[in-house]
Symmetry: C2
Subunit: 454 residues, 2 copies
């Protein structure tokens, strides 16, 4: 009996001491970030000096040089580029579009070409509009109901989903797959309700994906306010639509991942990656998507270096190329890892906005997840309480193929889809403290993984 | 043994069933709010049609009529006013101020009179500036160091406090008590660094409290950017300050609490209050402070009524008068409760901004707190996980004297003090989904208390 008690006490003390010592380091990390972070100033530079920075654009090249410089300022062991070829889509002239009511009355639409979509040609497209509220409905209408028409995909985001990414995923099929399927049935074009959680006049762009077996038709996003109006008119009368876009895909261009690295002091061969993506849509400053993730990743390094922490494992901050319309940077990062036989222990991405953090989503074997769960209480004072399965990010996802444990920062998602892929995703819509708190929690998690492995 | 197991099973099942049935109702409540809330439109009206609405102002009267109308729209059993006398402070002419460096170079300050403060007189005040970083330092300097000078209270909010209200509380003494104490030592005036969590050009006003035993000196808030600049100059040279304010306290004016009530169907004598305050500072639209709390309280009633829920207990939404500079509405509400021998079971206030909710702070006996803790998992899907001791709100605090259990909504606090009491606290800085999610969680808690008591 006495022996058992003794073991219990020692065990408790060790655990208590360890957690306590860790919590002291983590408090230092968080304090450093909340007090001296340069993430917000870096984000301002990225948004205002580079600005919208779609893959292949001069602004993307400018962003590469800005972020390289930001990384060098924090004095990691090395900063380097990984070159890759990226799609080079251009929007062309400002889009125009209207709906024409039965009496001939015209109503101008707030619209924009969807990313990767083909243009209409100089004359534009004019056709009757047919509204679709589910992919099943499109299939049922088939060629008879669709041919020669403009298909209006009206898939509002479900407001009852508190995790708004769920609503984005459900309604998102209208944008990603809708136009191509409408092309299969002979549609002349596609108008897609913007994937926005609010009623607004701003159209939200984003990728549409063509199936190469089907005819490629031009596709635009219209604002949610316009979608509501169009839908209300279609309940009463036939409505014609018109739009003109000159967007097109050019030959692939050169892009870069930008990488900063602190070499591990004890287990340098094990690599931990923290990243976001450097490209943004061409209509947006890409402050939340994903300038935030980029500057937070740099801030993780800055914080650790400023505190004089020598991480046991190698830590890399990566600004990935081409997340929005190709994922070529992500593929390149995996290729490099494979060709150098690198051991990638852990990777975390911040690509859900620079909002106040609530958790980490985890994608790894149960034994590793359990280890991270044990650290849960260490994050609680800093607003992170939700450690759960299912996470990662588009840019780190390929690393799963080489056994890397993946995680994603989960910020509060209520505001994200108000501004996502729209002209309203600007620096001014990021809160400095929220941005820093996300960086601080990632730095804490990365330090723990570096210290204890997985 | 068998008997024990049986009891265990029944108990478990009942608990399981109950929580499950409750979670179904709560999902209906949240879905209704997230889908059909009118809180955001109501907030727009309050901010744009009434606007800044300090006690005693015509705008406050306008706000009373707007909120009465909003309440009537949702068709509660009754809407009524509680009249009370409120302080009537006016800012007067636009304030002016400068610092004058040794060489005579002048630098204009972004400043505003503190609420309730006396004016300088037409000529303003010119005096040497002395910087103070703690109340202890002020006391140590005493009359010798202070007399005839302008005391510059430079108490930055501590950026490492994740709960920013803690930093506000710590630094807040500079604004609330600083000027009066400086007056005791013969200071000519006080300049207080704005209680802001960011570096900005906007001054943040707020109440200063005079001790009637000390001379009352004029007091202004200067922007955090100006405070940084002034402090940096004071490290190098003597600096003179000048400011001119014409603010003054007028005789008390008439104010009102606005109350909407749903009569309880089974225990009508037990009253549950949900509230926010109707007044705001005169420089701000008072969107987060505290238009949010007002429209959320109305939304709680709207949601329950729309769903056809007949609460067992009486539920009141209250828009309190005069939180910012007097708390007369709060006192009036208590007086009415006492004079009518009302039984106030529970009261919750939302007065920490319309941001994404994280928890409820609870101020009540342990047995009641335990009951609410049992409901914790019911809120988790909706972002509320932090149920902890310490909460309430200024307007409901007096109800403690008659044994009311108190609670406060805890929204995320990272953004609040960027805009609190400043011209930037406008409608545009509130997110519709965040606002609604706060209302939804309060409606759920109120429904539970109404259903089960405490």
């Amino acid at each position: 009996m006495k022996k058992y008690i003794l073991i219990g006490v020692i065990f408790y003390s060790q655990f208590g001491f360890s957690q306590n010592a860790d919590s002291v380091v983590i408090k230092k990390i968080v304090d450093e970030t909340m007090t001296h972070s340069t993430a917000y100033q870096n984000l301002r530079k990225l948004c205002k000096q580079a600005g919208p920075r779609l893959s292949g654009s001069p602004a993307f090249a400018k962003a590469v040089s800005l972020v390289s410089a930001m990384m060098k300022v924090v004095k990691p062991d090395t900063v380097y580029l990984q070159q890759c070829m990226v799609p080079h889509w251009v929007r062309g002239e400002k889009e125009r579009g209207q709906i024409i009511l039965s009496g001939g009355k015209k109503y101008d639409l707030n619209l924009c070409a969807l990313g990767n979509s083909v243009g209409t040609g100089a004359k534009g497209i004019t056709a009757d509009i047919v509204e679709i509220n589910s992919m099943q409905q499109l299939i049922e209408l088939g060629s008879n109901g669709i041919k020669g028409k403009i298909v209006f995909f009206n898939f509002p985001m479900n407001p009852t989903y508190i995790r708004t990414f769920r609503a984005y995923g459900e309604s998102g099929v209208s944008r990603t797959r809708g136009p191509s399927l409408a092309g299969k049935y002979g549609a002349a074009g596609a108008m897609v309700r913007s994937l926005a959680s609010n009623l607004t006049d701003y159209p939200h762009t984003g990728t549409t994906v063509y199936n190469d077996s089907f005819p490629k038709i031009p596709a635009v996003a219209i604002s949610t306010n316009d979608a509501e109006y169009l839908s209300s008119q279609l309940k009463r009368q036939k409505v014609k639509g018109y739009f003109r876009t000159t967007s097109k895909m050019l030959p692939d261009a050169v892009g870069y991942n930008v990488v900063a690295e602190i070499r591990g002091s004890q287990v340098p061969e094990e690599i931990i990656t923290v990243g976001g993506h450097l490209d943004s849509w061409d209509l947006a400053e890409g402050a939340n998507d994903d300038g935030s993730g980029v500057v937070q990743s740099v801030e993780v390094l800055r914080t650790l270096i400023s505190l004089g922490i020598k991480p046991k494992r190698t830590i890399r901050a990566v600004a990935f190329a081409n997340e929005e319309n190709g994922l070529r940077g992500a593929q390149k990062y995996l290729e490099e890892a494979k060709s150098k036989s690198e051991k990638h222990l852990f990777a975390i991405e911040s690509d859900a906005g620079g909002f106040t953090p609530r958790g980490f989503g985890l994608d790894m074997p149960a034994t590793q997840m359990q280890k991270i769960f044990q650290w849960k209480n260490l994050f609680y004072p800093y607003g992170v309480y939700d450690l759960s399965a299912g996470g990662g990010g588009s840019d780190i996802a390929p690393l799963k193929a080489i056994g890397t444990a993946l995680a994603g920062l989960i910020p509060d998602s209520q505001r994200y889809f108000d501004i996502h892929h729209a002209a309203t995703d600007v620096f001014e819509n990021v809160s400095e403290r929220e941005l820093n708190l996300g960086a601080a929690n990632m730095a804490a998690l990365i330090w723990l993984v570096s210290e204890y492995g997985l």
